[in-house]
Subunit: 303 residues, 2 copies
């Protein structure tokens, strides 16, 4: 399969490298890492074993990438105003587009630009970051849940999940992508924001009892908003507790938004906070703590 | 009248100085400013005219102050575990105790220690801070609303208000002290906490539209909780808007909790957040944004 990677941050580089190692022809749109990767290849460090790809097809612009079978989108969503223009040169008659971006709203942008039938989305549970140019550090996890933007289980989604599994990671096709996205938000909304706001990793937040209680309350607000979106089945009442338990096992984890903030990049406030707040309000659900957290992050970003 | 001042921060020094200038015998319990004030007196700078009191009765310990007619309490409430022991030596058979401390719960401590009939409380709208030892800077305002802990308008409260008015400040006796305290919290809860958390003065918060909306929402939570406390009449719906307008006129105001935080003192989280949250919960009212703001402040304080 010919695969184009749009958005070569840690997520795009890591999954792209796995797909190339598994035999696919992968073309990366690169910016910061262009020189290093086209000259010296791409190195992945991982607790599951380091590996190096000596020859990697890197491009500075999307036009010469040309049509591919699959576009894998890992672009930071604060750059979503350029999403359609970056993806367009890769789209041919048979191209499928899979976005693994954070939060809500990216599938809708792709569907509006290229037609809903092309679009799949997924949530990635990946702990990785970029090292020096040409290197990506895989720290833990990597599991993906993906599904059709239009809903339902499709042979295409099943095939794509199998493609990912053949690279060595866990991947599941789901019939209800919307539910998978809201479930991911149950984690992202409290932890991305609170870690970015305070500069403290997840363990420091969880060991402070009042903050832990507010994390649970934030999760419950997101669950209530998600369950108002006509999911195939509601997110369970014990989901918040599960997420707290999982997070306690992650140690001093620094979510992507905290790293974005520390590295002075924009934060993904639109897709992780603003669009979820809008979707909740459209269903008459208030998320008061989420709204306050968003305002504090937006204030910090404006400062 | 013989008056004892317990808690000689900016508030205690300023009102104590005004009372002494008006002819009362004022005795100050001092800590940081003891040497400077007993040696060189007390200087007040003020847009209404600077003045200097050459001879000031300062004490390092409360015992030698002895019984007074009025104890004026300006202690920071994070020191309330020492409140009763500091006040006790000043209490004789006829002593009244007026606390102008922030938030909720100080009258109850005084009532438990000295009997409810002795206790009055008040809210002070004062912008002042301490300068070098022996100097207090009055920046703006100074108005007081005071009333009986037991409720109702008393001749004693009216007389005390008149005593303060004779010092040159605006002072009103109110029948519903509880309502006055909750009205003050409508301002204190959003602005003290958000300014302390972000390090930004009031004007910076108000000019950021999402934060301004959250300030209004925080105020509305406090109004709803206050109105569940069986006040003599409810706090009006337009009170939040009034407070926003008043605050816009205050310019780059730095609330006391922000200054406490900047100067590495504890913050008054108990009386401004924890007790109000408890009182709201006792009446079945949730203040979700207030609870999140409190947790973030408590986390910052623990850091």
């Amino acid at each position: 399969m010919r695969i184009g990677i749009i958005g070569a941050g840690a997520l795009g580089l890591y999954y792209g490298a796995l797909l190339q190692r598994a035999g696919h022809e992968v073309r990366f749109l690169l910016r910061r890492d262009y020189e290093a990767i086209t000259r010296g290849g791409l190195t992945v460090t991982s607790p599951e074993g380091d590996f190096h790809l000596a020859v990697v097809k890197g491009f500075r612009h999307p036009d010469p990438i040309g049509p591919v079978d699959l576009v894998l989108v890992g672009l930071k969503t604060f750059a979503n105003d350029r999403l359609a223009e970056l993806v367009a040169p890769l789209v041919g008659p048979q191209t499928a587009i899979l976005t693994l971006q954070n939060g809500l709203g990216s599938e809708e942008l792709l569907a509006a630009a290229f037609g809903p039938q092309r679009v799949l989305g997924g949530v990635a549970f990946l702990c990785a970051n970029r090292g020096e140019p040409g290197t990506v550090h895989h720290l833990a996890q990597g599991r993906i849940r993906l599904g059709e933007f239009g809903g339902g289980l499709s042979p295409r989604a099943e095939q794509l999940a199998e493609t990912f599994r053949q690279t060595g990671i866990s991947c599941q096709a789901v019939a209800d992508l919307k539910k998978a996205r809201w479930e991911k938000l149950v984690w992202n909304i409290p932890f991305n924001g609170l870690c970015a706001l305070t500069g403290l990793a997840t363990d420091r937040l969880l060991c402070h009892a009042p903050t832990r209680e507010q994390i649970r309350a934030l999760m419950e607000e997101v669950i209530a908003a998600g369950n108002a979106q006509t999911l195939s089945s509601p997110i369970g009442e014990d989901f918040a507790e599960q997420m707290l338990t999982v997070t306690a096992g992650m140690g001093a984890y620094r979510p992507s938004m905290m790293i974005d903030r520390l590295e002075k990049r924009p934060m993904e406030l639109g897709t992780i906070y603003e669009i979820p707040l809008q979707r909740a309000a459209q269903r008459g659900v208030s998320m008061p703590r989420v709204a306050l957290l968003h305002a504090l992050l937006a204030l910090q970003a404006a400062d």
